[in-house]
């Protein structure tokens, strides 16, 4: 570290604790309190990156989130590396490794730099005008463009870090811990408002924190000393929460804000592990106070992008806060007073200031006078026309400005320097204000956009509100807060303030040069390499709106989102097009304010928590018995139970056979269950189902089909009449939630007159379904005192019984076509009943089966599965279920839609059975069906919805929807596959036991 660049009098750097780090493989060190940027500067390293397009050498230019150039790759661990990180925001820590981006082989020798020589050929948007010949070569051109674009490298392994979320509700949120933010926080908290103050830096105080200057005093002490006491006094306030290292990312409507808190990025490498890296705060604030300060503007002139060209206020922070000299021979270039603060600070620290180049006529504000007293030389009414040097600036060329400021005159002065501080005035950080929907107004006297109207309960204070002088900041802050928080006692009234006042203002967006514009490179967007010339080119070609210019030149679209470039882009457009800036408007600032990691946005909802997992009461049993699971919505359902090393097909064949030959047992707990009570329950069912319910006897079950108002099948299930006004409805697993809310909707909005109450009992009951010829014997062992005779307990009826004194409901219903029962019992006992049934069934080789076998068994019977055999375009008639549509009922949901001109057509797609000529050929679900094999393209008549090999019929069977299928019984059709064509015949949808004998077997 070149000692002489680090001065020793900084209160903010702990020079006793040395921190070693690596940059581009070089071992370096800095101190606790440094940022990577300040440490690099202290090591006399300016060149840190190459620009996006021309690969020009670029150096550190700022000291905060507006930094356009110094973006580096942090770390080289494949899972923890982070691209595009601002050196100015990285707090130095032991073990930090960083490297330059977008350069090859190295930042010092970058082959990409040849682009700089081609730069005349590649102006803004050149790519729209070329690479079109030969046509098919774009792929190749693109390959190289993509390779050279991009900045850092993405990690290639999963992130090991943890991210978290927190919700926060407060009365007042203050964004920004500078002088005005601190005043606001103290005032709000003292008035018993639950207050939160956040700041993105690691300590509060903003720039006033290191403002030790004669020209800025409060109550006779330096402004920094005064503020220091104020900050200390905050600790005593009980309803104030302070969050540092927390940056406001997004300000949405209804005062909903997102803030990212950095918790481990500043820690030494070995301290980071197993801690939350970043926490995203989701804040709901009754009132929001924005105190985000202002950014210094650069100046736009030829070669204003060389390493060593730094914002003047940043030079000041580096010397006053970090104790780092940005150079030994520093020149300053300004259009306002603030550069003189820098000059004074440098002078105080014994850094020689060559001169201040000021585009204004001589002015004599307090601070300027003070600077001149210190012997600082000023070139009045002058401008820098060029900078020299390649990897580092080594001199500047100065010329006098003509009176109107449009030309340069007299002879060029050459001034050697190793650093140039530039100050183009200040831009209020209005980003959050506009994000929240606030409207800006343009202030002509000093060319700034300031907050105007907002619908939300919020204000902006301090320099983000356009107050730049210390006295204005304090005075206006006090007034605004009093009004905003409706209070009158404020500690900060009648402070005694000394503050230098800027007298003369002058601004030139694009400074004149002695060369023709075309021969110069005045950069606007340093990262995206767009120049003033590019803006003018865009305008010349007819791209007039700011949005067009921005997109055409990519100005303001780099990772700094144009924090430094937007104003000048607007200024140059306004000048060139001859419109007022106020009328031009700004580009919209979109969230986030600074880039936000995906990790922080997602929080801990990764891996096991990516989505909810729902489990049935018998889940553990399925796991113990080696079930494979299927995701059905959020449910985990047993899919099949492979024995030994059976594959799915083998397992399903075995399960299906067992279920029909003897007995099978299925966990049906995921079916939706809705308890329906009320004197109008029957009428209600009449309106929601297609069939009639009033005459259903108590104790009986009935299958129902539910439509959407558009007439398409929506859901189905069996509903049981438990008593006069009491029904239990079952829905499909996937449909449960939607059906309930749909029915509630109709009850609350369309039929409020009905006396009906719905209560979901889906999770209250576990459902054990046993089927097969031996199911009766098994059940009789489980519930000995229940008469299972067909006379007492026929198909489609239910019984309320006790199993070991636990109430349960046994339905004799069947989705397999077998004699079968469904036992519904409180979930707490469901696993136990399941085991009891299983034990009782042992002697009959009762076989647990999963969803796959269930699908096969029902397909053998031609029962549909809503969502598989229907896709939202099938009416009951299409499903050949005309029988379920009550002709007597006046109306039900969806009825009218069934009679529209296209829904009553006879030749719609209809559900049919399919048999392959080759009984061993299993059709692919989703395969299409055609009548001709020789045409291409060929009309598709429909597709296969369900297809299985039936072990019970010992042949393959399938369900399909086919255009005009009802009329095509016995018709031969084709299923064209990629490499073959399968011959099929249309059949009835019921393949097994057409007479339903097995139901009572």
């Amino acid at each position: 570290m070149s000692k002489d660049l680090r001065i020793t009098n900084s209160k903010f750097i702990d020079q006793t604790s040395r921190i070693s780090f690596k940059f581009d493989g070089k071992n370096l060190y800095g101190f606790k309190g440094d940022t990577l940027a300040s440490a690099l500067l202290a090591n006399n390293i300016h060149l840190v990156g190459r620009s996006f397009k021309y690969h020009r050498p670029r150096g550190i230019m700022a000291c905060g989130s507006e930094e356009p150039n110094a973006i580096v790759q942090v770390g080289n661990d494949t899972s923890m590396t982070e691209p595009n990180t601002r050196a100015t925001e990285i707090e130095l820590y032991e073990g930090l490794e960083a490297s330059s981006q977008n350069c090859w082989p190295s930042v010092n020798f970058d082959l990409g730099a040849v682009n700089n020589f081609f730069s005349p050929l590649i102006p803004a948007a050149f790519y729209y005008k070329t690479f079109m010949w030969p046509a098919n070569f774009w792929k190749l051109y693109e390959y190289f463009i993509r390779k050279s674009a991009g900045l850092g490298k993405s990690p290639t392994e999963p992130d090991k870090d943890i991210y978290d979320h927190r919700y926060l509700h407060c009365d007042v949120l203050i964004v920004g811990g500078g002088i005005s933010g601190i005043m606001a926080a103290k005032t709000a908290a003292k008035n018993n408002l639950n207050t939160v103050l956040i700041d993105d830096k690691n300590i509060l105080g903003g720039t006033t924190l290191f403002q030790e200057n004669e020209c800025f005093k409060i109550n006779n002490s330096y402004s920094n000393e005064w503020l220091k006491k104020e900050i200390e006094s905050l600790n005593s306030l009980k309803n104030l929460t302070i969050k540092t290292r927390t940056s406001l990312a997004a300000y949405h409507s209804y005062n909903y804000l997102l803030a990212r808190e950095n918790l481990t990025d500043h820690l030494d490498l070995d301290e980071k592990k197993n801690k939350i890296r970043q926490r995203l705060w989701k804040i709901r604030a009754k009132k929001v106070i924005i105190a985000t300060g202002a950014m210094e503007r650069p100046l736009i002139f030829n070669n204003n992008d060389r390493p060593g060209v730094i914002l003047s206020s940043s030079i000041k922070k580096y010397i006053d806060f970090y104790g780092v000299k940005c150079g030994q021979k520093i020149s300053l270039f300004t259009n306002n007073d603030s550069a003189y603060e820098t000059a004074i600070s440098l002078n105080k620290c014994g850094v020689s200031v060559n001169s201040v180049v000021d585009i204004r006529d001589k002015t004599n504000s307090l601070i300027v006078k003070h600077a001149e007293k210190l012997g600082i030389k000023v070139h009045w009414k002058s401008t820098v026309v060029n900078t020299n040097g390649y990897k580092k600036i080594n001199s500047i060329e100065i010329m006098k400005l003509s009176d109107d400021g449009t030309n340069v005159i007299e002879k060029k002065i050459n001034e050697e320097c190793d650093c140039l501080g530039i100050s183009g005035g200040w831009t209020p950080r209005v980003h959050l204000f506009t994000q929240s929907g606030g409207k800006l107004k343009f202030r002509d006297e000093d060319n700034v956009f300031v907050p105007d109207k907002s619908d939300l309960d919020q204000i902006s204070i301090g320099s983000c509100n356009g107050d730049f002088g210390l006295d204005d900041v304090i005075k206006n802050t006090v007034n605004l807060i009093n009004k905003f928080l409706k209070i009158n006692n404020n500690d900060y009234e009648n402070l005694e303030i000394i503050s230098s006042k800027e007298i003369d203002k002058k601004n030139i967006w694009l400074l004149p040069s002695d060369k023709p514009l075309g021969k110069t490179k005045p950069f606007l967007d340093f990262q995206n390499d767009s120049t003033a010339n590019d803006i003018k080119l865009a305008l010349r070609e007819g791209f007039k709106s700011i949005e067009h210019v921005k997109r055409y030149t990519t100005t303001g679209m780099a990772t700094d989102q144009g924090k430094l470039s937007n104003m000048h882009a607007l200024g140059i457009i306004a000048e060139t097009a001859g419109v007022k800036m106020g009328e031009l408007g700004t580009t919209t600032f979109r969230p986030p304010y600074t880039p936000l990691t995906f990790g922080a946005i997602v929080g801990r909802n990764v891996g096991e928590f990516f989505d909810i997992t729902r489990k049935t009461p018998m889940h553990d049993w399925h796991v113990e018995n080696k079930a494979e699971f299927e995701n059905v919505g959020q449910w985990k359902r047993a899919w099949y139970y492979p024995k030994d090393n059976e594959n799915m097909h083998e397992a399903v064949q075995r399960e299906s056979k067992a279920a029909r030959d003897s007995a099978g047992i299925l966990d049906a707990s995921t079916l939706g269950k809705i308890d329906i009570q009320g004197s109008d329950a029957s009428e209600f069912l009449n309106r929601v189902y297609t069939n009639a319910w009033s005459k259903l006897e108590i104790g009986k079950c009935r299958y129902g089909l539910m439509l959407n108002e558009d007439g398409m099948v929506y859901d189905d299930g069996v509903t049981t009449r438990l008593s006069e006004n009491h029904y239990l409805m079952t829905t499909t697993t996937g449909g449960a939630a939607n059906v309930l809310s749909k029915l509630e909707d109709y009850l609350q909005t369309e039929w409020p007159e009905l006396d009906v109450y719905l209560t979901s009992v889906t999770d209250h009951y576990g459902t054990v379904s046993i089927c097969g010829p031996n199911s009766k014997k098994i059940l009789s062992k489980v519930i000995p005192d229940l008469d299972l005779s067909d006379k007492e307990f026929p198909h489609m009826t239910f019984k309320s019984v006790l199993i070991d004194n636990i109430k349960c409901r046994v339905m004799r219903i069947s989705f397999t076509g077998e004699h079968s029962y469904e036992i519904n019992i409180q979930s707490s006992y469901a696993k136990s009943v399941w085991e009891k049934c299983f034990k009782a069934g042992k002697e009959f080789n009762i076989t647990p089966y999963g969803t796959e076998t269930m699908h096969l068994l029902r397909a053998e019977k031609g029962f549909i599965i809503a969502g598989q055999d229907t896709d939202g375009t099938m009416t009951p008639i299409d499903l050949q279920m005309d029988w379920i549509i009550s002709k007597k009922k006046y109306d039900f949901i969806g009825k009218r839609s069934l009679y529209r001109s296209d829904t009553i057509r006879e030749d719609r797609k209809q559900l049919v059975g399919l048999l392959t000529d080759d009984p061993n050929e299993i059709l692919e679900e989703g395969a299409q069906i055609v009548a001709e094999t020789d045409k291409q393209p060929v009309e598709m008549l429909g597709h296969v919805t369900s297809s299985y090999f039936s072990p019970n019929l010992n042949k393959s069977i399938a369900l399909a929807v086919v255009k005009n299928g009802k009329k095509l019984m016995g018709q031969k059709l084709f299923v064209p596959m990629k490499n073959k064509t399968i011959n099929v015949t249309i059949t009835d949808t019921v393949f097994l036991d057409k007479e339903n004998k097995r139901l009572n077997a």
Binding site: N255, Y256, E709, E744, D745, P752
Partner: protein
């Protein structure tokens, strides 16, 4: 994220609610009497207003009640909420 004032439960985060589209579209009492056009009008055709819109919301993860909202769709400002069956407080 809106902050929605459920007429029953009070101010809650938008994530507790689900939107139900344009309000005051009454289901025809006698659908069978309608022409295909009239039925389509009810079924699909919407004003889709830019500006003050009357719409249905459901406090799905709270009291599960449906209610109406007056919202300016051009700036998402909620002007009022009112219970089902009540007259809109704003014309």
């Amino acid at each position: 994220m809106f902050l929605i004032n459920c007429p029953y439960c009070g101010e809650r985060d938008q994530s507790e609610f689900s939107a139900g589209g344009e309000a005051h579209i009454i289901r025809p009492k006698q659908p069978t009497e309608l022409s295909d056009d009239q039925w389509a009008e009810y079924l699909f055709m919407r004003k889709n207003i830019k500006g003050i819109q009357f719409e249905r919301w459901n406090h799905a993860h709270g009291c599960r009640k449906w209610f109406n909202m007056v919202r300016d769709t051009s700036n998402d400002k909620i002007h009022a909420v009112y219970k089902m069956g009540e007259k809109p407080p704003i014309k």
